[in-house]
Symmetry: none
Subunit: 217 residues, 4 copies
Amino acid sequence: MSDSEWITELINDTDTTMSEKQRKILEAAIDTFSEKGYAGSSTSEIAKKAGVAEGTIFRHYKTKKDLLLSIVTPTIARFAAPFFIKTFTKEVFENEYEHYEDFLRVIAKNRLEFVRKHFPILKIFIQEIAFHDELREPFQQLFTEHVYQKFKKIIEHFQEKGEIIDLPPETIMRMSASSIIGYILPRFLLFPEKEWDDDKEIDQLVEFILYGLSGKR
Amino acid sequence: MSDSEWITELINDTDTTMSEKQRKILEAAIDTFSEKGYAGSSTSEIAKKAGVAEGTIFRHYKTKKDLLLSIVTPTIARFAAPFFIKTFTKEVFENEYEHYEDFLRVIAKNRLEFVRKHFPILKIFIQEIAFHDELREPFQQLFTEHVYQKFKKIIEHFQEKGEIIDLPPETIMRMSASSIIGYILPRFLLFPEKEWDDDKEIDQLVEFILYGLSGKR
Amino acid sequence: MSDSEWITELINDTDTTMSEKQRKILEAAIDTFSEKGYAGSSTSEIAKKAGVAEGTIFRHYKTKKDLLLSIVTPTIARFAAPFFIKTFTKEVFENEYEHYEDFLRVIAKNRLEFVRKHFPILKIFIQEIAFHDELREPFQQLFTEHVYQKFKKIIEHFQEKGEIIDLPPETIMRMSASSIIGYILPRFLLFPEKEWDDDKEIDQLVEFILYGLSGKR
Amino acid sequence: MSDSEWITELINDTDTTMSEKQRKILEAAIDTFSEKGYAGSSTSEIAKKAGVAEGTIFRHYKTKKDLLLSIVTPTIARFAAPFFIKTFTKEVFENEYEHYEDFLRVIAKNRLEFVRKHFPILKIFIQEIAFHDELREPFQQLFTEHVYQKFKKIIEHFQEKGEIIDLPPETIMRMSASSIIGYILPRFLLFPEKEWDDDKEIDQLVEFILYGLSGKR
DNA sequence: TATGAATGAGCATTCATTCAT
DNA sequence: AATGAATGAATGCTCATTCAT
């Protein structure tokens, strides 16, 4: 399976062939891994929560790590999907987003939406990426080859237009991303129960980034 | 032991009473927890790495979790130390930092220095805080009662002076902090082997935050 | 089913009613048991090797042990077949073999041939007879009631003719058999890849036994 | 540890450093492996029989296979010990044994004695050698480099003296050995409860081999 | 104080067998 | 007849913790 096929397959979320039991197992595993971490979760606990025999887990997933990857891999691929490079012509960016602000706002909103829907899985990913080469390596590659490259082109495009300051693209990227992530983490991880006005917050966030990065000083 | 005694004790780095073996155990545990996570590390592995018998660990630390807390707690307390409220009068802030920029730069530089020295322990903290009430609760308290309160006063002080925009202090705080953390994490966690010019990067960072938060728009 | 019916059925190699799948299962099981031993083989491995579903094995053989017996029993019965007593009159022996040498040579040659054809199954038998009463008991009976009795009569016959020394028949039997087996085991089990000149070796073997057992000393 | 050191260590049966529990574990393991085979024995069963916790087994023997090797290896080495080549001069053989008969009788008697003492372990060896490379390889080497070489020299020595027939030494060896083994196996494995007059049987055995191999025909 | 043998609950995984389809 | 999902007991092994020395 080639790289792009793999991506295509991951993004089209066609888990249509999953049995009832399999779905229950995945749900229980997401729950448990998310709450206690991978190493802190036992397959027997997951089986009990899923209402299946322990052996059933291993009929569907060869190992516990296999179960982890089956949970995390497709979701992360889909999280990164918007950054996939499909075309390299400048026109596309110009058509896609007239201003850096547009790009930022769109990304912030739809990735926030994605996080809202899939936070437990993303949390597992964040927790476990440090400990599993099988997780780190493919996503490091995915990031450097797709996300980073596309993001960079977008930044350079708007730097040429004079919209954003002339710092190294990865610095711009880091500042933009960390601001957004710096909203997402408290929002979902630390104080999820607080009432958040996402739209207003994102507006402030975008404005903060834009002024911070504006060339006019 | 009252709350403040506890804090005092933690900050004064009184590791003077530690035996050679104890120090070796701590070192080995930091190494191991940092590399494999708490649940993924075994006490026997730590004992072997420390060159002591398995039982020796439990002579010094009642349980494995005790060992974790002994590692993480004092370092985190010291990480937060600069934000401790010792005085509540406005004069102090004015003397301490003339501009928000000064405050930001000082904090960024010395907390970065602290991270450089203690990154493995901080990494353990970040990884494990989600899974252990014994970690989360005291530091949530420490944060809301000290760090947050002091940070808020500082922000309000500079908002009154018109230096920074009139958003809710916690929004300001989040934006400031996440920008700095957004530098620290790639810097130490993702690409530690890259060559970083910390001084230049921090200057850019501070500038980014200041412009982003400046009231003049 | 009476004892003699059982024997008759086993000897007539009526595997005619076996389906394709059943044959594949038997083949795979022989392969696997022979290579890893009964307890070291799993039914799932056998199923995979046979290209059938796990359940299919249990449709044909109630249990794993049933499968073992189905493999081993008929082949061992046929291995012992030449020793079955069909008649008890002396004349038969005299007609069958003029000298002990003839008997020895014929037995050695055709049992060697049999071993060549069925070695994997015989190996399973040798390995497993120690652990399964269901194997040991019928074949102990078969041996003491048929093989031993007929062998004994033959030996006594040639002792009367003065061809072989006057030791207890079972001693003669043991010496004859162990010499032959002592060729077969290295030949097939230890060094099967060596080049063996079976005819010459058997000639030497028969001579060795004959001289060893000859009464003229 | 060099080859010869290894041998020396194995032969000197210095299990002096074994704790009570360790001894109990070995005994129970020998019992169980001997009765049910390696694959058919469970560590929990062995632990129960030894009166220790299951974990205790694994403190002394890293794996179940380690336990097997710890049982079998030293005993087999000691079984082969009499065949170790210590000297290569002809004089030694002449002093050691005046006739092939002497050699045969001594070997038969003392190896029989050894088997009597260690039969359960030897049985385990015989059963398991087919399935474990870790067993087969070192003993194949030990056999071809020591036992076979010394045996061959002895045979050639007596062939030169005209005592035994001029067949290939390995044929002589096979016939001698299989005759002896052909006594040992029924003696201990098949009918251990029968009353055996070992001395008389060995005399007959030696005579059988000698006449069988005698050159005078 | 330090040891390391001993524990037994718990772990991920495999097993032979069943049964609805 | 054949499947393969499902089972849950059993497996080899690891774990944090205890305790006699």
